[in-house]
Amino acid sequence: MSTPDDPDALRAEVRGWLAQHHSADLDRREWLSAVVDRGYAVPRWPADAFGLGLPDELARVVEEEFRRADAPGSGQDRLNLWAGTVLAYGSADMRARFLRPLLLGELNMCLLYSEPGAGSDLAGVRTRAVRDGDGFLVDGQKVWTSHAAQADYGMLVARTDPGVPKHEGISFFFLPMHQDGVQVRPLRQMTGERHFNEVFLTGARVPAANMLGEPGQGWRVLQTALAYERVMLGETNRGASTRSAKQGSGDADLVELARSRGKFDDPVLRQDIARVLMLRQVNRWNGRRADSELAAGTSSPLVSLGKLVMSRLLHETGRVQSAIAGPEAMLEGEGNPEGDDANFAAMNAFFTSIGGGTDQIQRNIIGERVLGLPKEPDPYRGVAFEDVPRSG
């Protein structure tokens, strides 16, 4: 199966293929199977990994045609964090076992990174994985895991050697979730919603063959997985909640709310509203600049700034929304949509200012990686993990 190396020819080919094979009422699994077989699922990947070995600019043509046809399944080489991590660090055996099912979406997956004792300091994970025969026994607790109850496997970061510095004693596994040693407990957020879980690992077993990378190489594997996740989050809608899509989506909301409450002639509120609208607009422009700069192949500081701006924007929106709602902001529930929205916005903003690296951690990253400011001295550099002070 040869593929044209001319964009126009490629475009014609993909378009033709889509016209011939795609239809909206196809069975999803059957369709994905055809996409994977044709190489369009992961066009950048090599032929022995379901791909076509295309350079980025040609692969984007494939993705564009899929988008145009509203056909799912392409671009997984950029967006499928599970398969991407397996490709990057999995053994031949793991690739054989996992790649195709992951590309077909046949496996439900979850992330087992964060721990109650290791939030911002992800390298501080305490969950232990101890060698036991042809596998490892895992003990510890993970938190903020989405879809844990449905997951077949969890990508697990665990400590296999506490006697070396913290980044060096971590390993990375595909942990089977359906076993007695894995207990999932839903975690209730302060908004009242339940989108995450705690996962208790008690003598959970993972085959040694399910390790990605070498023992002690888990931190590097994790960086690859996190990079995939950032790209994915950039393109899909993120949030602690199905409701969060409402926020920051358009300018009309605050203005309409103020109008409907007869407060749009309040000069103080008008200033607040204008600030929020402007910040949204500027953030959209920053996003466009980031896109252009990334497309032009240069690294963009703007990518690092987005989350921080979004955090400020969401907190500000919650604040202004509450001011407009007035006493109604004392209420919640379906019967009180204005108060409910304002309170939800104000609370859910913390999801962005805390989750995936707090605002404080983001500022460190921007200061150090973008502005080149020096790191803080780390008195435990080179110290074995077990000798580093910890909570409690």
Partner: protein
């Protein structure tokens, strides 16, 4: 003297704090807040009988302890720390102050002071808010019987009240039996379940006039100003509790091999919060002393206290969550309970913006 507490005031603070520690820990607050009543009658009884605080500021001739606004504020500050859940602000502060200021002779005040009766003041309306001169509820006399009509909103503690004090245009104050057929009490789904509110509709409900009509405006002013200051004291206490929680966590939670409180990002948030917390205490108690001394700056100081303490508490409650990180975002952690209390207080009795305008007017600006 301003900001110097007497031995009695200190003892009162300790007594309230101990009682709450013994009978209203977080677990109890959560279960009370989750209950239908939103109020713990056992605890109320202890507060009334053991400490006598249900009638703290009620004159002795009406069966109260005859203490003043400073003592009330001490209690409220402790209540704020512990997220006390019950009809204190609505009944023992707002209603009791109103009845006392009206020179009430109906006996309600004595019963409230004893903790046997709970009163709710139905004042706010949709367009008027808490602005008395703009109220629209009406009272009419018909063959010697008074009847009141109107839609009241955000009535504190109405659902557990034994008597409703309705404020009508004029203003005038009437007592209405919540069981009257002309009364509909609709509990609200509140964001802060530790402070219950209801909408109350009056449709020609039978009403007893309360107090001298000529004193109603002044009495309402005194009652509202007092309630604002006591809310401010509660907020000062809540802000301090949020800061204490943040500092405790920052001292004991390790990341990167260090207590997170050793990082300037966290340390400086806490330092700035201490400024807010201490200033909120100053603002609330300066206003309480002004009330106690009937100082000419009552209006100015109460407006300041409400605006300042509302915002200080909101900031403390929010930063506490941020400092806690993920755990602070969970339902199980108490941080959000303080956020709920803080956000609600900011909207009760008017917004900080409105209080600032009132402050300028009061200072003659």
């Amino acid at each position: 003297m301003l900001f110097e507490f007497t031995e009695e005031q200190r003892a009162l603070r300790s007594a309230v704090r101990e009682l709450l520690a013994d009978h209203a820990d977080e677990q109890r607050v959560r279960s009370t807040a989750a209950g239908e009543l939103g109020h713990d009658p056992q605890l109320w009884k202890l507060l009334a009988e053991q400490l006598g605080v249900t009638g703290l500021a009620v004159p002795e001739r009406s069966g109260g302890a005859g203490a003043g606004p400073v003592e009330l504020a001490v209690v409220q500050e402790e209540f704020g720390r512990a997220l006390f859940c019950g009809p204190y602000l609505g009944s023992s502060v707002l209603a009791a102050t109103l009845l006392d200021a009206l020179g009430d002779e109906t006996g309600h005040l004595t019963e409230i002071a004893a903790g046997h009766r709970i009163a709710a003041v139905a004042l706010a309306e949709d367009t008027a808010g808490w602005d008395v001169p703009r109220l629209g509820a009406t009272a009419t006399e018909d063959g010697g019987t008074w009847r009141v009509s109107g839609a009241k909103r955000f009535v504190l503690d109405a659902a557990c009240a034994d008597v409703l004090l309705v404020v009508t245009r004029g203003p005038r104050v009437f007592a209405v039996d919540p069981a009257d057929r002309g009364v509909t009490v609709q509990p609200l789904q509140v964001f802060d379940p530790t402070r219950r509110q209801a909408d109350v509709r009056f449709d020609r409900a039978t009403a007893q006039p309360v107090g001298d009509p000529d004193r109603s405006a002044a009495a309402l002013d005194r009652a509202l100003r007092t309630a604002e200051v006591m809310l401010a004291a509660e907020q000062a206490g809540g802000a301090r509790a949020a800061l204490d929680m943040a500092v405790d966590y920052a001292r004991t939670r390790f990341q990167f091999g260090r207590a997170i409180g050793s990082f300037q990002a966290v340390k400086h948030l806490c330092a700035d919060l201490l400024v807010e917390v201490e200033s909120a205490h100053s603002a609330a108690f300066a206003a309480a002393w002004a009330l106690a001394e009937d100082a000419p700056q009552i209006d100015e100081h109460t407006a300041l206290a409400q605006a300042f303490c509302s915002e200080a508490f909101e900031k403390a409650a929010a930063d506490n969550i941020q400092i806690h990180g993920g755990i602070g975002f969970t339902w199980e952690h108490p941080a959000h309970l303080y956020l709920r209390r803080a956000r609600t207080g900011t909207r009760l009795f008017g917004s900080p913006d409105q209080h600032r305008e009132r402050y300028l007017a009061a200072t003659g600006c």
